[in-house]
Amino acid sequence: MVVACLTLSGAVGVFGFSFGVGSVAAGASVWQTCALSLFVFTGASQFSAMSVIGAGGSLGSALGGALLLAARNGVYGLAMSRRLDGSLGRRLLAAQLTIDETTAMAVAQPNRREQQIAFWLTGFALYTFWNVGTLIGALTGSAIDPRTFGLDAAFPAGFVAMVWPLLSDRRARLAAAIGGVVFLTTVSFLPIGVPILLSVVGVLVGVQRPVPPPVGAEGSRP
């Protein structure tokens, strides 16, 4: 668990670095970039907000897309609340650390005690690496031209790494396809940032009930 946690932290540090570089390239100051990582602490939302701002989108559309992406942490919170003990103060602290990676690490453990250890260990390690990575990235990004090093491609490449594991699910693939097509067909005539908000219609795929696996599939017929 410790090895998995450290490997993940290293990757998150690099991810934080690319956020830092991209964020200052999009027009944020080093302080603002670090404040985003310290207080927002949910990567996809931070990337999304700065991606829209960098393209010249409005404050409202940047916030809208980022908050849509932040909503899933509420669902992770539901999952974690059944696994974490402790006072209100501890739970308020745990809330800030409730993101994709900490939830995934925790729910993968076999019992409640290890789930709690995994959550706090991953949470503090990621928080540290994400913020140190962001700071180094923001300072680097202020000193160089990000385009020379292809760092403007670091945002979408990071998004690819983020979304790829989700696409093993058929519904997620359909939602992704709808999101991409909605964006492509509306980008040229809607205000910058709005097509990102509209892409969320892809989630309506989830309204349909999942098809239960066929009972007695192949080989089981008499």
Binding site: S51, L78, M80, V160, A176, G206
Partner: protein, 99 residues
Amino acid sequence: MSWTLVIVLALGAYAFKVTGLVILGGRSLPAVVERCLALIPAAVVTALIVKDTFTTGQDLVLDARAAGIAVAVVAAWRKAPLIAVIVLGAAVTALLRQV
């Protein structure tokens, strides 16, 4: 860029986390709502990939980024670690700009 974005996003993101973990607690949402919320990253992040790869402002463009991201997709498909996906995407984009 304004500090408003930083402050509102920080408060909003924390509000979602607290709602799930502290306020709703052990209760669960209707299954259809949980299914839809779970699909947000797939839909929105894919749109962000298309945006950052093929557009500048409101214009559709095809440039070095497309090649970089194509390589990143192949790397992700081959289960390369997150670091490799980002570094490959950036490196290919940078190299093509030198040509």
